[in-house]
């Protein structure tokens, strides 16, 4: 009987503590001029940017096996696109950003894996990567408009386009360049480590960080070179601001790199590790530091373009989600915190926080 009791306890331990079939991740975040949209596990919340109140939530009733963690994407024709993760029913849906009601006649359930990445909307087509290794191509009504493109490796990051080609990072160590017209992969570049985030793209090519602790420059024809080394692995997406590339590594070091001269402008360590992408807005660089080394709380740091700290605010929880700007507000969605969403102005003053009602 002791053994049976231990087995029951063990089962409970596995179910409760280990993650088991429970899928967990940090939240997705997007915003338009009126609302912020947070994909936070069982629900997607629309939050009023004026006061931080809940406008709607989707679905109305939680299903612990259908979860949302990808960044939602707003389209110019008034859709909010997002796919679900969780243990069942991996579905890709379109919601009305104003009401949270489903817009398509039927949801897309054609993928085998979970949806972790945000889609790219380009030329009236939705390109959405799945963890099953395929890039699915849908029209704006949710119908599959072309054969899925076999990329290989789990796809966790959003595709990015230079207007002609699509650049897609994969955990299989390759950056894939896709011709969307032909629907084929035209180049695959091995970066020597898993690539968890999207590249930054301009008219000459793409810049991407990887687990190989490098930032690589990839031209549209597939030629590539190591631009610079980082102290640790790079998780978040680099950001372009004119001729300057900003990026951070898992040590928490933030770098500024001058693309014209090919030299590093500066590097600073404003706080703890950085897994999120950087946000450039209003002449400031916003760094979502996963956790302050002392307080172990997620901290939002504003740097000026010379790398000097302008202000620093403890948000709580852990910060993994890339901050988003809307108007004057900087939005952050902490993980495992008391609040689901917090808004700050450019001076670091907290405008409001959002915690969903139970």
């Amino acid at each position: 009987m002791i053994l049976i009791s231990l087995l029951v306890l063990g089962a409970m331990f596995l179910s409760a503590c280990s993650g088991g079939t429970v899928v967990n991740n940090w939240y997705g975040l997007a915003a338009d001029a009126e609302r912020a949209y947070v994909s936070a596990g069982s629900f997607i919340y629309a939050v009023d940017l004026q006061n931080g109140s809940e406008v709607w939530r989707y679905p109305e009733k939680a299903d612990s096996k259908v979860l949302f963690f990808a960044n939602p994407v707003l389209t110019t024709d008034g859709q909010l696109l997002i796919g679900s993760a969780g243990a069942k029913d991996h579905k890709f849906i379109s919601l009305d950003p104003a009401t949270g009601k489903e817009k398509w006649a039927k949801v897309f359930t054609g993928a085998k894996g979970a949806w972790v990445a945000a889609p790219l909307v380009m030329n009236d087509r939705i390109y959405v990567p799945n963890t099953d290794g395929f890039l699915y191509v849908l029209d704006l009504s949710g119908n599959q408009s072309a054969d899925p493109i076999d990329i290989g490796g789990a796809l966790w990051s959003a595709p990015v386009s230079d207007g002609t080609l699509i650049y897609l990072s994969s955990l299989d160590h390759f950056l894939h360049i896709i011709d969307p017209v032909k629907g084929v992969v035209v180049s695959e570049i091995d970066l020597g480590g898993a690539i968890p985030s999207s590249p930054a793209v301009n008219n000459v090519g793409a810049y991407v960080g990887s687990f190989a602790s490098t930032i690589e420059f990839i031209q549209s024809n597939g030629d590539h070179s190591v631009l610079t080394q980082t102290e640790n692995r790079v998780w978040g997406s680099p950001v372009l601001d004119g001729e300057t590339l900003y990026y951070a590594d898992l040590n928490g070091k933030v770098y500024s790199f001058d693309l014209a001269s090919g030299t590093e402008n500066w590097s600073v360590q404003p706080d703890g590790p950085v897994a999120a992408g950087l946000l450039i807005a209003g002449g400031q660089i916003y760094v979502a530091s996963e956790a302050d080394p002392t307080s172990e709380l997620g901290t939002l740091v504003a740097l000026d373009l010379d790398g000097k700290t302008v202000w620093s605010k403890e948000v709580g929880g852990k910060l993994y989600t890339t901050p988003v700007v809307s108007g004057d507000l900087i939005l952050v969605a902490p993980h495992q915190a008391e609040v689901t969403l917090a808004a700050y102005d450019a001076d670091g003053k907290q405008a409001w926080t959002f915690t969903p009602a139970k």
């Binding site: 029951v8 088991g20 940090w26 687990f211 993980h335």
Partner: protein
């Protein structure tokens, strides 16, 4: 503490074996099998003492002196306990010898499960944790992400095979079956219908396969690979002692007509 003592070493051992095997397709399943063999080899002496202890306890149930004590002091539990302790001491039997290896298995099972989930990293948060779990000497850049495919399975998810439109959990069935076989083989025959030990063993041989089958049904198939490998090694280990009771696998095979003689 749990993280540093159990999860990190286990995850790194798994990844080390995975890297040695070339970290290609199907190698993580092989890494789990090799890991199980390593664990079994390390705990071999403990398992041997468990088998010995269980056997001694079961044989005691059929012992004449033991049975007489049960009858004689049926109404005096304290006296029975005293007499039992005397016999344990006289014959050099440790009544807890059969429990210890089982207790040791639990942190291994739970730790292995958590290590598999972390190593396979189904979500970004898991991979971020994995990146921080890997010891500096490991080839982290090369082995991340792990290939979760093994034969027809995704080791990070519960397994099932589509047969005639039905999802059949084949691994869960194999886990339950091998657990049943292992528990039946280690159960000695008894002539005493009121033997509490035998009744308990009989219950265990039903509950254990159901419980482990339930684990395999609901959790990552990597843990089912561990159970099956561990069960098969247990059967081999027990068979190697020459005491495996193969008749127990047949209906009614666990009854014995003659009593076991006192040693």
């Amino acid at each position: 503490m749990w993280e540093q003592l159990i999860i990190q070493p286990m995850t790194n051992l798994l990844l080390f074996i995975y890297d040695l095997l070339g970290h290609g397709p199907h190698t993580f399943g092989l890494a789990i099998i090799l890991f199980t063999i390593v664990v079994r080899l390390i705990t071999w002496p403990l398992n041997a003492s468990q088998v010995k202890g269980a056997q001694a306890m079961q044989e005691l149930q059929n012992d004449k002196e033991w049975q007489e004590i049960q009858k004689k002091y049926a109404k005096d539990k304290e006296k029975i306990a005293q007499e039992q302790m005397r016999i344990y001491k006289e014959r050099g039997i440790n009544p807890f010898a059969s429990c210890l290896p089982t207790l040791i298995q639990f942190p291994i099972i739970i730790g292995l499960y958590q290590s598999i989930i972390r190593a396979l990293s189904v979500m970004p948060l898991d991979m971020l944790k994995l990146a921080r779990t890997i010891y500096p000497f490991q080839n982290a850049e090369g082995i991340i992400p792990l290939n979760s495919k093994f034969l027809w399975m995704n080791l990070g998810s519960p397994e099932s095979v589509q047969i005639l439109g039905y999802a059949i959990p084949t691994l869960a069935v194999v886990v339950a079956l091998t657990t049943y076989v292992q528990s039946k083989l280690t159960m000695p025959a008894t002539s005493n219908p009121n033997d509490q030990g035998a009744q308990m063993s009989g219950m265990m041989s039903i509950y254990m396969p159901l419980m482990l089958g339930w684990f395999a049904l609901n959790f990552a198939s990597g843990i089912a690979i561990y159970f099956i490998t561990s069960n098969l090694l247990g059967i081999i280990q027990y068979a190697a002692t020459g005491r495996a009771n193969w008749r127990n696998l047949l209906p009614g095979g666990d009854k014995k007509t003659t009593s076991v003689k006192k040693k």
